[in-house]
Subunit: 353 residues, 2 copies
Amino acid sequence: MKAAIFKGKGTIAVEERPKPTVTEPTDAVVRVVLACVCGSDLWFYRGISDLPHGGVGHEFIGVVDEVGSAVGDLQVGDFVIAPFSWSDGTCRNCRHGVQTACVHGGFFGQGGDGDGGQAEFVRVPHADGTLVTVPAPASGEEFSDETMASLLALTDVMATGYHAAVSAGVTEGMTVAVVGDGAVGLSGVLAAKLLGAARIVVLGSTTESRHVLAREYGATDVITVRGSEAVEQLQALTGGFGADAVLECVGTKESTETAFAVAAAGAVVGRVGVPHDAEVDAEGTFYRNVGMRGGPAPARAYQPDLLRQVLDGSINPGKVFDLTTDLDSIAEAYAAMDERRAIKALVKVSSLR
Amino acid sequence: MKAAIFKGKGTIAVEERPKPTVTEPTDAVVRVVLACVCGSDLWFYRGISDLPHGGVGHEFIGVVDEVGSAVGDLQVGDFVIAPFSWSDGTCRNCRHGVQTACVHGGFFGQGGDGDGGQAEFVRVPHADGTLVTVPAPASGEEFSDETMASLLALTDVMATGYHAAVSAGVTEGMTVAVVGDGAVGLSGVLAAKLLGAARIVVLGSTTESRHVLAREYGATDVITVRGSEAVEQLQALTGGFGADAVLECVGTKESTETAFAVAAAGAVVGRVGVPHDAEVDAEGTFYRNVGMRGGPAPARAYQPDLLRQVLDGSINPGKVFDLTTDLDSIAEAYAAMDERRAIKALVKVSSLR
């Protein structure tokens, strides 16, 4: 099969690799239909974080190609979405809705063999606990490209934005600050709107296309400056109190500082940006009763509900994809995102039927 | 009037000071019946944190002695409990239940004049927003010493323990770790029990008297070692997963590390120990989806409900007081707590009637 292979900083190649097979009775093998490139893939692509050279990609939807003898809920031919990590669905952490901390869990595409989502096939451990089956469309109908993109978004980016909003405790009527207007930040805006936010302020870049989608998803205000200037603008918008909930969707030192600085007394910063040199001020947060929650999103926990909302048309998280390539051209997808020419790239691998 | 005056490290004197009077129309003056010494008073007593020399003490219950012209809810003669900070009850932060961040708020007994609770009288700003009236006992009855002590505990220590448990998100059936077995930690145990914890593990000292009260309040296990050894013991008690919720009731670097280390994936550390050199690991907490909340307790938010529970006999938070002095002997109360001869000292100032 063909698979995207990380070969070192700035280099993604598509190479021939052995097709993965069931190695544990709880495994399934999935034929990938759509994959995509994650903002977090850019960390190793840019050489900022280390990753072994090998198969990459942790976002994919596809069709079950093979199941192990202990797999009970899935059949060959099922159309499934995967979270970006596998999980057994039964351990204490899975039962508590933290599937990304499953005791038998792991993350797809960490430079290994056969478990990268940017490939023609993926081996999925603990398939029953991990995969979510997409119900077939009404007879004679097919999923539109838009729906397919939105299903793909549930594998990570939308689930991650949603986790930020849930972690920040967004409820009806709140003023919410979203730090970051990348694909996760935009998904965070959509999630905050879903949870009833009355006002959503995006602290983002100067890229106009991102503002357009942010506003379509529910943002009421966009701040395009950074650091203390951004904090001042947010405070001015909130009568000096700050935001009732904050979504941290970047993970840098500066974005994290900004997130905590714009939090109102008693607010929680919902963190989903993977921290890179980020710091948390133990004292400053204490005196203002500012909290934090979050981490790698338990996408699996949110997917059944978000899936229903995609299929009934109430959300369209796939709009964050603004570039489409095929697997052979995936290096261009990385380059476009690295150079901020694209928010997020969708990768067509095979056809659903 | 007589007032406890901080004179520098290790020195508390009782001196004559002008009786405070109403200076703003929203003020009340309260004649203090009972006061007490807080674990946080030891920070300045020990010279670890700075405080101007002057009136101290932020925990008191008493009788309204004078009210300003704009005070509407209180009358001279009312028996009241105070939170350790004043608040207007109307600003955004008060309405959101974070009265300790009131825009017109402040903390009693910060070395000023006339606003220390360890004194015969206290000036209370924003009296309507701040004070909670205690309903009169049934005709012919009087509040017992035990009830009076429990009412006093609501001014800070019990409200603070309760804030730790609420911040940590304690709910029915949880396994809860309480770091610290001082008066706040013990109150945290009682609060966790109130909120339905099934198992409560105290990580505390080797002082047996604290364990007795901890178990009376609902602790099921007591760990008396520290650092990594304590973490190992907690993990062994929880099948290696850690606690579903953690109450940090100390605030030192070591106790904070321990609190985060014993938190299960997805758990929240409810912090109420004032941080001193404490650090929060931004990355370690992220990958385990461990959160934190908390800060200075909005005692005012919890007092009406806790007051009802004291009066109907369902909680007895006053048991944390194991030493009683009068105002003239308050220096001994500080010394006894400093030397760990007492958990918490109650100071009798005047009689209720």
